[in-house]
Symmetry: C2
Subunit: 339 residues, 2 copies
Amino acid sequence: MGLSTRKKHILQAVVTDYIKSAQPVGSRTVARRYKVGLSPATIRNEMSDLEEAGYLVQPHTSAGRIPSQKGYRYYVDQLMETSNLGEEEKAEIRQVFEYKKLQEIEEIIRHTSRLLSLLTNYTCLILGPQLKKSAFKKLQIMPLDTQRGLLVLVTDTGFVKNNVINLPQTLSGNELNRIVSYLNRRLEGLTIDKITSRLIGELRRDLYHHIKFLEETFTLLEDSLAEDERRVFLGGTTNILNQPEFGDIGKVKSLLSLFEQHSLLATLLARPVAGVEGIIIRIGRENILEEVEECSLVLASYCLGKEVVGTVGVLGPIRMDYAKTVAVVQQVVNQLGML
Amino acid sequence: MGLSTRKKHILQAVVTDYIKSAQPVGSRTVARRYKVGLSPATIRNEMSDLEEAGYLVQPHTSAGRIPSQKGYRYYVDQLMETSNLGEEEKAEIRQVFEYKKLQEIEEIIRHTSRLLSLLTNYTCLILGPQLKKSAFKKLQIMPLDTQRGLLVLVTDTGFVKNNVINLPQTLSGNELNRIVSYLNRRLEGLTIDKITSRLIGELRRDLYHHIKFLEETFTLLEDSLAEDERRVFLGGTTNILNQPEFGDIGKVKSLLSLFEQHSLLATLLARPVAGVEGIIIRIGRENILEEVEECSLVLASYCLGKEVVGTVGVLGPIRMDYAKTVAVVQQVVNQLGML
DNA sequence: AGTTAGCACTCTCAACACCCGAGTGCTAAT
DNA sequence: ATTAGCACTCGGGTGTTGAGAGTGCTAACT
């Protein structure tokens, strides 16, 4: 791993220049634009070494070099200087969160994804809070008419779930209220994944004379827990079209189709080790899906309240501006955590 | 308007063939593939006339002809034979709606849009129910903690709206209940657009001693009414990428960006004259937005219950399979109406 | 020994010429 | 009125060429 400082400088120059220009960068350019006091010839030699070591590749003889995935990895790990956000940008981020304090969580996330895609010009993916890990807060059943009611479930993370259910006509308003408040008492404070079939079985027994009604309610509850497909929120899906590397319809198509398959996206955003704090960068093939093997992903967990509840990610071309993206993601995640 | 029957046949042949092949069709092809008992030369003459009359255009000399927008219009109005759906397709549609009876409305619409885009291979746009035209059904406020509550609003069309609001700590549960049931009584059965500022002012007076609390609730109510941006649901947004006419990134981009601007889409789906029943087809420039001047839109109103509540549309290239699309849309709208 | 200048070499890309085939329009024959 | 025949047109594919960018190597320089 021990690259000479000179090699480091050159590698850095190549990466930053390529990130800006999307053009293979040659020795001339490095010599001219980046004040290494060296002649092109020397730089050529060093670049040749770097290529041999696997940090750079040549698209073809007689083109400049571009970073390999290994090169990007080295850059990200060792070379990148984290850029500070401009004050205007910081202000913009703060402003978006200013009035969001008491909004519903989905609304907040939607805005966040828009903000991130706007600031970075890449595509933003946000994995919503995991229902299982949220705590039950309150449940209510609103009768709609004689046969149907609306089941409303709220978690402490501000997650709201609505479901229309059938009510038996024989059920009086009083009974309904009793049942609801009983359920609220029993479920209070439990995290959703604690509401197991066993517990539900218990509740069923206790309320045996309402079985028919409950049957459906519980099935619904169980379903929505089992499904627990965490919602993925997208922002700026068309931003990739601005990237020169996606001039080809085929690539665009496979990516855009991926964007419609939320379950796949969820796996993409899943953190490898839940424990790791801070920002994770996945470059090209380091992502599991082949649809994004030409993309990089900047990932971070975010909190709402004190718990880590989800993941935000910014997806751009491998040639993305890592420094800026990391800064933006960091800032946004911080702001989210303060809500 | 009076085309000879022979010209009609030829025009029809050209349109259908071009819809299938996306290639300009020449006189040979018409003679060979469509049993008009005529030689290419004769057909050439007729096609020449049709071009003069504006129904066909030549991309360049020595290419076949393709229909002009006028040509498509004539085809759609006079020539198109409405295709009957295959039994499997009908069954598929029915099946999707089978289990949807008591779902929430948004869920139904989401499924519908997926279904439509799947069956047609085009992009599906659905304009959700208009809040203003829906009738207020029920309102409930669930206290979440000492300071906040969840305001749940349900309309008769099955539309559910959630909003977190602040509650004054001084408010007792009883008081809250009284207020809620008072509001329910006053608002019952009114269509949302009847809940004007005047009415709200009245309510305010009647509940003057809760002004602070109500202030916020009402503002929220008013906001969500004023905003009343009808939601647009999309399906199969990447389907356009399969169309050869969108091989160019520029076009794709402008369309996909349009798909992110829901307010624009809403105007696109708005019906010109609310009264007109049945299916409307808008070809190319007949649509107001220039982003879709190379697209056609097949529109239909749909009902939920007895009221017309929204619009479904299928957006494809001008060269779309109108016959099939119309059949599918018709069928789906019918099924929706039966829910 | 490390650095640099010079030069021949390689490769891509854009421009240009070229040809082929599909399709037309016109004319003359049926 | 219809059709066969034929000259003409034009787009798209193919091959060639030249310019430009960048390299690698060698020999000279510090």
